[in-house]
C-alpha cells in the first residue's frame, strides 16, 4: 500500500534529476503503470492498515483510487504525444509535478486520519499550481495566482475546521483523536455545537477545492488556461479526492447525529452549483471554460446526491466514476482542438469533425455523455440520483435538478455543435496538418469514451459491489 505513495514520489525525484528531456515522459508512463498495477493488486487482496491505522483501504477510498489510477494511466499515454509536440516547454516540472500529484492523491484516498488527509490535500494544491503555469503567458500566470490564492484560503479554512473537529472530539469521554474509526465509534460523545461549527469550515474549505459554487471562482480560470491534460486530471482526479474528504466529514457528522444538518447544507450547495453552472454555460465563448462550468455542475450533482442520501448516494458514487472518465475524454479532446486551431474561442472554431476526424466526433459524443444522454454511463448515474430524490420525497430539489440539466444540455449543445459541425475556416488546414490526430493524442480520449459507453451498457459485478460498499459507508447500511 505504501508503494502507491512511494513509487510516484521516487519517480518524481527521478524525473527532476533526469537530464534527457526526450525520455522524461516515459518516467510518467512508468509511474502510471506501476500505480495502476498496485491498485489492481489491492483491489484483489485488500492489505492490512499501515502506519498505525492512519492509512487503510476502504470501499470509498478504493473507488477513488481506481478512478484516479485509470485516468492517470490514460493521461500518461496522452502525455507521450502531447509533450512530444511541446518541446518548446520544459517538461521537467510538468512530469515531476504530475507524479507528486499522483502520490498526494493516493495519500488522500488511503488516509484514515483527517489531519493527514488535510496535509495531502494541501500537497495536491501545491503540486498543481506550477503546472497551471505551464504555458508561461500572462493568462496562465493570472490563472495560477488565482488558483493558489483561492485554494490556499480554502485549505486554511479546512485546517481551521479540522482543528474545530479535534476540539469537538475532546469533550468528556470523547475520542480525542482525528482517526476516522475513533471518531465514528465515539460519535455520540462529540460536542455537537462545535461539530456544526467544524462542518461549516470544512465544507467551505474542501468545497473550494471541489469547486462548488460560490467557492468556484478559480475553476474556469485554472481549467481554461491549464493544458487539457491537466484539466482532465484536475476535474476527474483532484476534485474526486476533495469529494472523498467531504464524505469523510459527512460520515463523522452522521455518526454524531448531525447528518440531517450536514445533508441540508450539501443539497443547498449542490443546487446552487448546478444553477451557477447553468447561468454561465449558456453562450459561453470559450470551450475550456465551458468544460470548467460543466465540472462545477457535476460537483454539484455529486454533492446533491449524497445530500439527498439513500439510493441517491449509490448514484453519486457511480457518477463520481462516470463523470471522471467522461471529463477526461472531454478535456483531452478539447486540448487537441485547441492545438489544431490555435484557439479555444468559439468564434475561431468550426468544423472540428473534419479537421480532427477522431477528436472532433469524440468531443461531440463525450458532450452527449456528460449531459446525460443514454446509452452512455452518466445517464444511468444521473437518473439514479433523480430516482433517489423522488423516492426520498425531495420533490423541489428533484425538479430544480431536472431544470438545471435541461438548460445545461441546451446551452452546452449550442456551443459544442458550432465547434464540431460545418466547414473549417480558411487556413485551418495548415496548422491541423502539424497538429492533427495521432494514435497517442486521439487514442486515449477514444479509449475513455469507449469505457464510458461500455459502463453504460454493462456494469461489472466487482464495480457494483465496491460502489454498494462505499454507499454503505456513508449511509450505514
Amino acid at each position: 500500500m505504501l508503494l502507491l505513495v512511494a513509487t510516484p514520489l521516487l519517480l518524481a525525484a527521478l524525473a527532476f534529476a533526469l537530464p534527457w528531456p526526450r525520455h522524461r515522459p516515459l518516467v510518467l508512463l512508468a509511474g502510471a503503470l506501476a500505480h495502476a498495477g498496485t491498485v489492481a493488486w489491492i483491489w484483489g487482496a485488500p492489505p492490512a492498515p499501515a502506519l498505525g491505522g492512519w492509512l487503510a483501504v476502504d470501499a470509498a477510498g478504493l473507488l477513488v483510487l481506481a478512478l484516479v489510477s485509470a485516468l492517470f494511466l490514460v493521461c500518461a499515454a496522452y502525455a507521450q504525444g502531447y509533450l512530444a509536440r511541446r518541446r518548446d516547454r520544459d517538461s521537467r516540472g510538468f512530469v515531476g509535478g504530475l507524479l507528486v500529484l499522483l502520490g498526494a492523491v493516493s495519500v488522500v484516498a488511503l488516509s484514515q486520519h483527517l489531519g493527514l488527509l488535510w496535509v495531502a490535500i494541501e500537497l495536491t494544491t501545491l503540486s498543481t499550481a506550477p503546472l497551471i503555469y505551464f504555458n508561461q503567458n500572462e493568462r496562465a500566470l493570472e490563472a495560477a495566482w488565482k488558483y493558489l490564492v483561492t485554494c490556499s484560503v480554502g485549505i486554511a479554512l479546512a485546517l481551521l475546521g479540522t482543528f474545530l473537529l479535534a476540539l469537538a472530539s475532546a469533550g468528556p469521554g470523547g475520542p480525542r483523536s482525528l482517526l476516522l474509526a475513533d471518531l465514528l465509534a465515539g460519535g455520540a460523545t462529540l460536542d455537537r455545537p462545535w461539530l456544526r461549527f467544524a462542518f461549516v469550515f470544512l465544507l467551505a474549505g474542501y468545497g473550494t477545492k471541489l469547486g462548488l459554487a460560490p467557492f468556484h471562482a478559480w475553476k474556469p480560470d485554472a481549467y481554461g488556461e491549464a493544458p487539457g491534460l491537466l484539466g482532465a486530471l484536475l476535474s476527474g482526479g483532484v476534485t474526486s479526492v476533495a469529494f472523498l474528504a467531504l464524505l469523510r466529514v459527512l460520515q463523522v457528522c452522521r455518526a454524531a447525529g448531525e447528518g440531517p444538518f450536514a445533508r441540508q447544507a450539501l443539497v443547498g450547495l449542490g443546487l446552487l452549483s448546478i444553477g451557477f453552472a447553468a447561468v454561465f454555460l449558456v453562450r459561453q465563448r470559450d470551450v475550456k471554460r465551458m468544460l470548467a462550468y460543466s465540472s462545477v455542475e457535476h460537483m454539484g450533482i455529486l454533492v446533491l446526491g449524497v445530500g439527498i442520501g439513500g439510493a441517491a448516494t449509490t448514484g453519486a458514487f457511480l457518477h463520481l466514476v462516470y463523470n471522471g472518465l467522461t471529463k477526461g475524454a472531454l478535456f483531452l479532446t478539447a486540448g487537441n482542438i485547441h492545438r489544431a486551431f490555435g484557439s479555444k474561442q468559439v468564434e475561431h472554431l468550426r468544423g472540428a469533425a473534419r479537421v480532427l476526424p477522431v477528436s472532433g466526433p469524440v468531443f461531440l459524443a463525450s458532450f452527449l455523455a456528460i449531459t446525460g444522454s443514454p446509452p452512455f454511463a452518466p445517464f444511468f448515474s444521473e437518473f439514479a440520483i433523480l430516482d433517489g430524490a423522488v423516492k426520498a420525497g425531495a420533490w423541489a430539489p428533484a425538479a430544480a435538478y431536472l431544470v438545471g440539466l435541461a438548460v445545461i444540455f441546451i446551452g452546452m449543445g449550442a456551443t459544442v455543435l458550432r465547434v464540431v459541425q460545418g466547414a473549417p475556416p480558411e487556413g485551418a488546414g495548415a496548422a491541423a496538418a502539424a497538429m492533427g490526430d495521432t494514435a497517442l493524442t486521439a487514442g486515449p480520449p477514444l479509449l475513455l469514451l469507449a469505457l464510458v459507453l461500455a459502463l453504460g451498457l454493462w456494469v461489472p459485478g466487482p464495480l457494483r459491489a465496491v460502489v454498494a460498499a462505499a454507499a454503505a459507508l456513508v449511509e450505514g447500511g
Partner: protein, 215 residues
C-alpha cells in the same frame, strides 16, 4: 501571569486592526512579523502541566523562525525589489475595513462567550482572538489589490488558525502542528515565486492587472 497573557491576545487583535488600517505595505509586513513574535510566546505562557516541554519548544521556536523572521523577510525582499510600497486604492476603504474588522472581532467575542469550550481550563480570549484574526485575514485577502497585501492577509488568516491549534496542544500529536508551519512556509514560498514572475510580467505587483479572465 494572567494579565500578561491577556495582553498578548489583545496585542494580536490590535495588530490585526493595524494591518487592516495601514496603507504602507512595509508597515504591514512589520506588523505581521510582530504578530509572529507574539504567537511564538503564546505556546509558552499557555502551557499547562499536561503539555510536554519538547512540544512547547518546537511550537515556539518554529513560530518564531517561520512566522516572525523567515516569511516576513522573504516578503520584505519581494517588495524591496519592486517600486510598489503602498496600497493606494483597496476595493474597500481603510476606514470601512477597519470598522468591519472591529465588528467581526466583537462578534467573535460575543459568539465565544455563548459557546462553552469542550476542553476546560482554556484562556477565555483564545477563541475570540483566533476567530477575529481569521476574519481580519479574510477581509484583507478580499479587499486588497496588491499581491503583497493579499499575501499579508493570508498570513494573518494562518496566524488565526495557529492560535486555535494551541487549544489542541494538550492531546494532539505534534504532526498536525508541524503541518501548519510547513504549509505556511510552502504556500508563501510558492506564492513568492509566482509573485516574482508577476513582477517580471507586469512590472508591478498589482493583481488588478490580472483581470483578463472573466465572464
Amino acid at each position: 501571569m494572567t494579565g500578561w497573557t491577556d495582553l498578548l491576545f489583545i496585542l494580536v487583535l490590535v495588530l490585526d486592526l493595524f494591518v487592516l488600517a495601514s496603507s504602507r505595505l512595509r508597515a504591514g509586513i512589520r506588523a505581521v512579523a510582530a504578530q509572529g513574535v507574539l504567537l511564538s510566546l503564546l505556546p509558552v505562557v499557555l502551557s499547562g502541566d499536561a503539555t510536554e516541554t519538547r512540544h512547547v519548544a518546537i511550537l515556539a521556536v518554529g513560530a518564531l523562525v517561520v512566522k516572525a523572521v523567515g516569511i516576513p523577510w522573504l516578503l520584505a525582499r519581494a517588495t524591496r525589489e519592486s517600486t510598489v510600497s503602498r496600497e493606494v486604492t483597496p476595493l474597500l476603504g481603510f476606514l470601512p475595513s477597519l470598522v468591519l474588522g472591529a465588528a467581526g472581532i466583537a462578534a467573535a467575542i460575543w459568539f465565544a462567550a455563548d459557546l462553552p469550550l469542550p476542553v476546560p481550563g482554556m484562556h477565555p480570549l483564545l477563541v475570540p482572538t483566533s476567530i477575529g484574526t481569521v476574519w481580519c485575514g479574510l477581509l484583507l485577502i478580499v479587499t486588497r489589490r496588491k499581491a503583497v497585501g493579499q499575501v499579508l492577509g493570508f498570513l494573518v488568516l494562518e496566524n488565526g488558525v495557529f492560535v486555535l491549534g494551541l487549544l489542541l496542544s494538550d492531546f494532539m500529536p505534534s504532526m498536525v502542528e508541524v503541518g501548519v508551519l510547513l504549509d505556511l512556509l510552502a504556500a508563501v514560498f510558492v506564492m513568492g515565486l509566482v509573485m516574482f514572475d508577476i513582477q517580471r510580467a507586469f512590472s508591478s505587483l498589482d493583481t488588478e492587472k490580472l483581470a483578463s479572465l472573466k465572464d
